[in-house]
């Protein structure tokens, strides 16, 4: 590694350590990931262990956050909910990035009619409010976690297509891409060697923000009964169930919402911080 690269990295690191948003965001996101990973190997109780005699209990040594209306352990269900949210975020953002970035850099490299189709196509998808297209998609393929994720992923495609097209066009205007073409590299090779590495920061920041948007969207769909189906736990569905019982036990309505808010807050702060750390000039758009 050259000296320039090392000092750039050191510079980024010191900026990150002085950035409160980045630190808070990284801690919250880290906790979300830790709980999700832990739930793979261990949870305090089985998530579907019903015990009607122990329903709606307060926090205790056996149930740290108490039990729900079926006597199920809330801490366990929140942990699996965290796993659920991470899967939603990763897959939905993954679909959006894979398809969207491909289309975006293609449009930027080829311009002409391909560019026109990508741009206009994004306009059409954007014309459908996200929640409406999600309802339509789950109406065709049936409600469920997988279809909800696909619906959110499709919404992410034009988001990434637009962002990567805009950023790639800027890079194509710079001298080193011209130089790449001049020494005989193909447009695909220039895209791979110069354009993609240079738009990576923008994409990472946008991905963090869309991750948060995806978690919020899945929670809303699950609340409406279109996402994760019971008895599998999801934060949005827990809130739906809570509405019936919250008069008897308010914590049922408080805890899952708090989990969603903390996860989204963490990711948003992390995105904010990453933007400043990776490239202070960047301004990511919040779409959705």
């Amino acid at each position: 590694m050259s000296d320039v690269a090392t000092s750039l990295q050191a510079d980024r690191w010191s900026r990150a350590m002085r950035h409160p948003n980045f630190l808070i965001g990284a801690v919250l996101t880290g906790l979300l990931a830790a709980f999700a990973l832990l739930s793979l190997v261990w949870t305090p109780h089985p998530f579907d262990a019903v015990a009607i005699s122990e329903r709606m209990q307060g926090p205790s040594a056996a149930h740290w956050l108490g039990t729900d209306h079926f006597g199920r352990d809330i801490a366990t269900r929140l942990m699996i909910g965290a796993r659920n949210s991470i899967v939603v975020g990763v897959v939905a953002v993954g679909i959006g990035m894979l398809v969207g970035v491909t289309l975006g850099v293609l449009a930027a490299a080829r311009s002409g009619w391909i560019d026109e189709i990508v741009t206009r196509g994004s306009d059409v998808v954007f014309a459908f409010p996200a929640i409406v297209s999600a309802i339509l998609i789950t109406a065709i393929f049936g409600p469920g976690a997988v279809n909800a994720i696909i619906a959110i992923g499709i919404f992410n495609i034009p988001v990434f297509a637009r962002v990567s097209r805009g950023a790639a066009r800027q890079v194509w205007g710079l001298e080193y891409t011209r130089a790449g073409l001049a020494i005989g590299k193909s447009k695909a090779a220039v895209t791979r060697d110069h354009v993609l590495p240079n738009i990576a920061s923008v994409l990472i920041v946008q991905a963090t923000i869309q991750f948060a948007v995806a978690i919020l969207a899945e929670a809303a769909l699950a609340y409406l009964g279109l996402g994760t189906q019971p008895p599998a736990p999801s934060w949005g569905r827990m809130l739906f169930d809570a509405q019936t019982f919250m008069i008897l036990d308010p914590k049922l309505a408080v805890l899952p919402g708090l989990a969603i808010a903390l996860a989204v807050l963490g990711l948003n702060l992390l995105g904010d911080g990453l933007r400043d750390v990776l490239d202070p000039r960047l301004r990511a758009e919040r779409i959705g």
Binding site: N21, R120, D123, V124, F126, A127, F128, P129, A130, I131, V132, I135, L136, A139, I140, A212, L216, A219, A220, Y223, L224, G236, L239, A242, Q243, M246, I247, P250, A253, V254, P256, G257, I260, A261, L262, V264, L265, N268, L269, D272, R286
Partner: protein
């Protein structure tokens, strides 16, 4: 200018045509036979065939698409299978709930966001700024339907100030009906206010550094007059864009909030028509929302290009 508007209009038309085709195709592949759902699974074959013919399901798809769009263009809509009234009537009834809801939410969020955002901008880098930015981060992270549930718990159940759910209808009196919309509108407004406050802060900060602001200060204008007269007026341009786009998304965002409060609005109508396979209603409601988004986008773009000629070239 005129060529720009004409070109934007063409794009708008093409977007709408493609979107309407997409809606039509999606509903074509939607599983479930609407006629079967109306009559039940024990229906006779000939009754089913008769109802399908009455619904127009026996004709080829392209014909039905043209009939749909042609009907809308001449101002007639289909008849809902489940409600047996024209779709336009149904949508009108539901909009009487959703439009006021979205409008109140928009007004509330703007009234909160502009002063708060300006406050933060004028105290850049100080405690007040950090407090506002911190609150707005939290506001953006709170799902609006969670806020709605908590507000029911506190203001409807515990304090009993507002109804917990339902809508009495405008004919029970303006105040009673409006009262039922307060909590839903607040739930919609607060996350939007958080976003708008950030936009306000950024665009006010951008304007504060402008030459004409320095000139205004230099000629001895009171700071308050500079802020409200010069800074805010210019900062309003990017904010109008966001406010315009927010209205379109508030209409769609009300789907979840209407479900929380059991309000008979447009969102509930979409939801019900999906579960009842009332495709005649569904296609019109979805298209209406799309038209809203596209037209608002168009108006924002045109307004922009009138204010700032550079925007014409960028598009």
């Amino acid at each position: 200018m005129l060529t720009y508007i004409v070109r934007r209009l063409m794009v708008l038309l093409v977007t709408l045509i493609v979107a309407s085709l997409a809606i039509f195709v999606v509903l074509e592949v939607l599983p479930g036979d609407p006629a079967l759902l109306v009559l039940g699974i024990e229906a006779q074959d000939d009754t089913l065939a008769a109802l399908r013919a009455q619904m127009g399901l026996d004709r080829p798809a392209p014909v039905r698409y043209i009939e749909w769009i042609g009907g809308l263009a001449s101002g007639t809509t289909g008849i809902s299978h489940t409600y047996a009234v024209p779709v336009s009537e149904l949508i009108g009834e539901r909009l009487a709930v959703t439009i006021p809801l979205a409008l109140i939410a928009l007004i509330v969020s703007t009234l909160i966001a502009i002063p708060v955002g300006m406050f933060a901008a004028t105290r850049r880098g100080r405690t007040g700024d950090y407090a506002v930015m911190g609150f707005s981060q939290v506001g953006m992270a709170i799902p609006n339907f969670w806020f709605a549930i908590l507000s029911i718990l506190i203001f409807a159940v515990a304090l009993g100030w507002f109804p917990a759910s339902g809508f009495p209808g405008w004919d029970t009196g303006f105040a009673t009906a409006l009262w039922a919309l307060v909590l839903p509108a607040l739930s919609l407004a607060l996350p939007e206010a958080a976003i708008l406050a950030r936009v306000t802060r950024t665009s006010v900060l951008d304007t504060l550094g402008a030459d004409y602001v320095r000139t205004a200060h230099a000629k001895g204008l009171a700071p308050r007059r500079v802020l409200w007269g010069h800074v805010l007026r210019n900062a309003l341009i990017p904010m109008t864009t966001i406010i315009g786009l927010q209205f379109a998304f508030l209409l769609a965002g009300s789907i979840v909030i209407e479900a929380v409060f059991a309000l008979p609005g447009l969102g509930r109508l979409i939801f019900q028509s999906v579960s009842q396979r009332d495709l005649v209603v569904l296609r019109d409601v979805v298209l209406l929302l799309v038209v809203f988004v596209v037209v608002v986008n168009f108006l924002v773009d045109v307004a922009y290009s009138m204010i700032d000629p550079r925007a014409r070239r960028a598009a």
